[in-house]
């Protein structure tokens, strides 16, 4: 599919197939074209070229109110003048279903999303999480072939968002409907999805399971966008099979694995995850690691299980983000203390620039 607005290409020859009943996420920064893609699937926009097939049939000539595709909007778009049951039953009434059947299906749908007996409540009387479920029930009660979700957790507070991630995944399993979820929040995509497409500038950079995107990124954009990384720029100094040695701008030497073909002298970017970096007080436990450095703790960034250390390498002056092990061994580390750290070359990804 391709979609252009005058000279601007919003979606640039995207081609994907989503297995029925799976949870598929499109992850990308604002303006990358993911909402445009979703709106084309929903029928609110026509592609400039290409086709959309659902269950093997093209839906391009099917208007949005006739497509077997429903959408949960970013701000939910519940109808404030209707109560919960009227909201959930709206689509069923549009299909001409008898009133008694609508009431039965609505109550059943509300029970399945954990809101039994809430039908008579006004929309203004329910919480953010409950609104979320009403919006989902309003779509799922229609038994769509595909449910589109346009960043529906964006307006929720952090705690509720974390809770709703799990709820959404459960609901998808329960209803066995194909979910297409778009988000700029990598943790939402990684936690819930069977497969994730990382989108950038209208194109898919990489499509695969969350683990693959995280551990085997294929492009610089994916390595940078998915998860946190330490990043260096440098030049390939030596190559041995797919192992490369890179000299960084600060005259450091980093050993890693090339993510694609490269040659000596190529300019590269090198990525290492904070959790791939091992800490040692005296360096004795780092002897098998291809990359070893001594440094000084610049600051301790305490965030519970996600706590980090910012460490400055003594030789190069690079500041490196290191995940603080949760074993308790390094809980006493403080800014100014000396530490050794290192990581394996297998966990160091090198991408040729350009």
């Amino acid at each position: 599919m391709r979609k252009t607005f005058a000279d601007f290409v919003a979606v640039d020859d995207v081609d994907l197939a989503i297995p029925s009943g799976s949870f598929f996420s499109i992850l990308g920064p604002s303006g990358c074209g993911k909402t445009t893609l979703l709106r084309m699937i929903a029928g609110f926009l026509q592609p400039t070229s290409g086709d959309i097939l659902i269950k093997g049939r093209s839906v391009l000539d099917v208007p949005p109110n006739k497509r077997a595709v429903n959408m949960v909007f970013q701000h939910l778009a519940l109808f404030p003048m209707m109560n919960v049951a009227e909201n959930v039953g709206y689509g069923l009434r549009r299909r001409g279903m008898p009133r008694e059947d609508v009431a039965k299906k609505v109550e059943d749908a509300l029970a399945r999303v954990g809101l039994p007996g809430s039908g008579t409540k006004r929309i203004s009387q329910i919480s953010g999480g409950q609104k979320q479920r009403v919006a989902i029930a309003r779509c799922l009660v229609l038994d769509p072939d595909v449910l589109l979700l346009d960043e529906p957790l964006g307006a929720l507070d952090l705690k509720l968002r974390e809770h709703m991630k799990v709820e959404l995944k459960k609901l998808q399993h329960e209803f066995e409907t194909t979910f297409i979820y778009i988000t700029h929040d990598q943790s939402e995509a990684l936690v819930m999805s069977d497969r994730v497409a990382v989108m950038n500038a209208g194109r898919f950079e990489q499509v695969g399971p969350a683990q693959e995107l995280y551990y085997q990124p294929k492009t610089i954009f994916v390595a940078e966008f998915v998860g946190d990384s330490n990043k260096w720029r440098g030049r390939v100094a030596a190559i041995e099979q797919n192992r490369v040695t890179v000299t960084t701008a600060q005259s450091g030497r980093i050993c890693g694995v090339a993510a694609g073909p490269c040659s000596i002298g190529d300019d590269v970017e090198v990525f290492v995850r904070p959790e791939a970096v091992a800490l040692s007080r005296d360096g004795s436990t780092l002897q098998n690691m291809a990359n070893q450095m001594d440094g000084e703790v610049v600051s301790v960034l305490f965030n519970g299980a996600a706590s980090r250390l910012l460490v400055r390498a003594r030789e190069t002056g690079d500041e490196i983000d290191v995940a603080l092990p949760q074993t308790g061994e390094f809980n006493d580390l403080q800014a100014g203390q000396s530490v050794s750290f290192g990581w394996s070359d297998a966990q160091t990804k090198c991408f040729v620039i350009g």
């Binding site: 929903a42 609110f44 949005p64 109110n65 006739k66 595709v69 429903n70 959408m71 909007f73 970013q74 701000h75 778009a77 109808f79 404030p80 003048m81 709206y90 689509g91 549009r94 299909r95 309003r138 779509c139 229609l142």
Partner: protein
């Protein structure tokens, strides 16, 4: 006695000074004439209070009172219909060129005074006016079959033509400010565009429609030029009757009684307007 320095620093004094010009304007230009008119309506020529002016007004002009209510009410309904249709198309229309043309065109009558609108309609709606010439020219009617619309229909057409843009402007603005995703959501759930307009959009912009129609109702009640230029025969509107009582007989008593009846009619809709304003938190 408060010193001059203290007066300068008293917030109440400054507040009163700020609202005083508005109060004086309202008092001189609205409350005084309204009160004077009401008192005159109930005053006998020889002095004292009387209902004679009202009895005479009802004797002579009860048909015109009914005519005025019907004309203005019918115009209000039609204005509401067309304003909703225009606002609805501007919000839900899928042809961007048609939407752009409508958006450009529909406001024009706003800038034309009532008296000019009435003159335009005289040349357009007359038996040998532009409308009939077009119909005859297109072969739909023979010249002998045409008829003049310069009667109650002409007044309604002029009022609707002149006031629809005003209400449409308010309604289209209210519709445009709705969350667009709510409209798309209804569409996504299977609603046609007409159903979205009726079931989703209208309930949410209803207060704006009511306010727009009430303001139009009050404006139409006060227009003299349109009925006097388009429909000089009886029955006609109360504004024409008031002008006639004063110009022909110098009969301010009956004219004021007719005015008082107009106040009552507009008072009813003003009460609806104020109630709407209180519900919304503040009248627009």
């Amino acid at each position: 006695m408060m010193s001059f320095h203290r007066v300068l620093h008293d917030e109440r004094v400054w507040s009163f000074a700020l609202v005083a010009p508005a109060l004086v304007t309202v008092g001189l230009l609205f409350i005084y004439p309204l009160g004077f008119s009401a008192v005159s309506a109930f005053s006998a020529e020889e002095g004292g209070w009387t209902f004679a002016n009202f009895i005479k007004a009802f004797d002579l002009y009860s048909n015109d009172i009914l005519f005025t209510v019907v004309i203005v009410s019918l115009s209000t309904v039609l204005i509401g219909f067309f304003a909703i249709a225009i606002g609805g198309y501007l919000t839900l229309g899928e042809n961007p060129y048609a939407v752009a043309i409508l958006k450009w065109l529909y406001r024009w009558p706003l800038f034309i005074p009532f008296i000019v609108a009435a003159q335009l309609m005289r040349t357009f709606l007359a038996k040998n006016g532009l409308m009939n010439n077009l119909i005859v020219g297109s072969g739909l009617l023979e010249p002998m079959q045409t008829q003049s619309f310069l009667d109650w229909r002409g007044i309604v057409i002029t009022f609707v033509w002149k006031q629809t843009p005003f209400v449409a402007l308010l309604v289209a603005g209210a519709m445009a400010s709705l969350d667009r995703s709510m409209i798309e959501s209804a569409r996504n759930l299977g609603a046609s565009r007409i159903r979205i307009l009726v079931e989703i959009i209208l309930p949410q912009v209803r207060p704006t429609i009511v306010v727009g129609l009430i303001l139009s109702f009050v404006v139409m009640m006060s227009v003299l030029s349109v009925p006097i230029m388009i429909n000089a025969q009886t029955p006609t509107m109360l504004t024409v009757d008031m002008a006639f009582r004063i110009n022909a007989y110098g009969d301010y008593g009956v004219a004021n009684a007719l005015g008082f009846i107009s106040y009552l009619m507009t008072g009813v809709v003003a009460w609806i307007y104020l109630r709407q304003g209180v519900r919304q938190g503040a009248a627009p």
